[in-house]
Subunit: 205 residues, 2 copies
């Protein structure tokens, strides 16, 4: 897979969403000017991001939407595994975790929510979900058996580092950290820190 600069990768994820929305519309080709309007990025940025895809499909009429979308999928590693959806789990089923339990959240995505974990056994027994819930102590077995690759971390802040350590020990590929805690790192595990304070601080300037 190509080595993409991280900001380009993130913009291409957004660009794919814009193209998905437009595929249902009438536009078969989109100019970089139009893509600029839809995303807010400069045409220069858009052309440079697209140059990472290693395709030549631009014309005075613009980029064919389908070709561009397929190239982004391939570069992001989605296309090759399109039949297979990536299994995810959610760790921490308090108010925040529960807000992410809606089944629709993961529909039309390359991910599927396959399991939930919580320290609190009462919570596990009372919540109604479309996928099974387990006590956190059973994490290792469930993750291995379900081939779970990614986790959303929505525990209390104080419980987050220990839960992340467990996930890392299970060989999880990536953790989306919705807590304010700084997590331990594993060599194989990516971490996206997306708590409100972290996201706001990232924007301060």
């Amino acid at each position: 897979m190509r080595q993409l600069p991280e900001p380009s990768r993130k913009r291409l994820v957004q660009l794919a969403k814009v193209l998905e929305q437009h595929r249902c519309g009438e536009a078969l080709t989109l100019t970089s000017e139009k893509l600029g309007e839809l995303t807010g990025w400069t045409q220069h940025t858009i052309r440079r991001d697209i140059s990472h895809l290693g395709i030549r499909c631009g014309s005075p009429n613009g980029y064919p939407a389908d070709t561009l979308l397929a190239a982004i999928y391939e570069t992001l590693g989605i296309a090759a595994e399109q039949e297979r959806r990536h299994a995810c789990c959610i760790v921490g089923l308090g108010r925040l975790g529960q807000a992410f339990l809606s089944g629709e959240l993961f529909s039309a995505s390359p991910f599927v929510l396959a399991a939930g974990f919580d320290k609190n056994v009462n919570r596990i027994e009372t919540l109604k979900t479309a996928f099974p819930l387990y006590p956190q102590s059973r994490m290792r077995g469930v993750i291995a058996q379900g081939a779970i690759e990614y986790a959303l971390l929505t525990t209390e802040d104080a419980d987050a580092p220990a839960a992340a350590r467990q996930l890392i020990d299970c060989g999880i590929k990536g953790i989306v950290n919705y807590t304010a805690a700084v997590l331990p790192r594993g060599e194989q595990t990516l971490i996206e820190n997306v708590s409100p304070i972290t996201a706001l601080t990232n924007m301060l300037r």
Copy 2:
């Protein structure tokens, strides 16, 4: 303010959190090796990030924690405005928005939650919060009067682009987008996309 590469900026935000936690401990200096253990980054990465701070405080004993933290605050633009906290609002008070209403979330941060908005007036009247809630139609006046700078966007996906447009028209500095919608961009408005699907897709490789 110095132009920082985005990945360095994000790592420095995390590094500041690690240092804040350690200030309460006994370590007055931290070697890049120790910082590597605490964050999971290589010593090379850590030294390069610290080099952006424009300070010379490394010694064989490591970096003085307080000096390093102050330099990070200054570079991120937190220190200069330490007395002043940045006013934020939350738009969308459904399950996800409500999960972020806890007062503790923003304590010990340079941000303060100053207002909440929702289309649904019933919701505004029944929720109990430490700050005032308003119907979304009053956004412009409330944001101007409260000098609100940042927003957490937690509406339904379908309502998100229109809400973002309103926020951009109000001149908001940054939006943390917890919805799956692709938002319109404003010239002055930064956007951090942190929905589960976006964050997971960013990690796919």
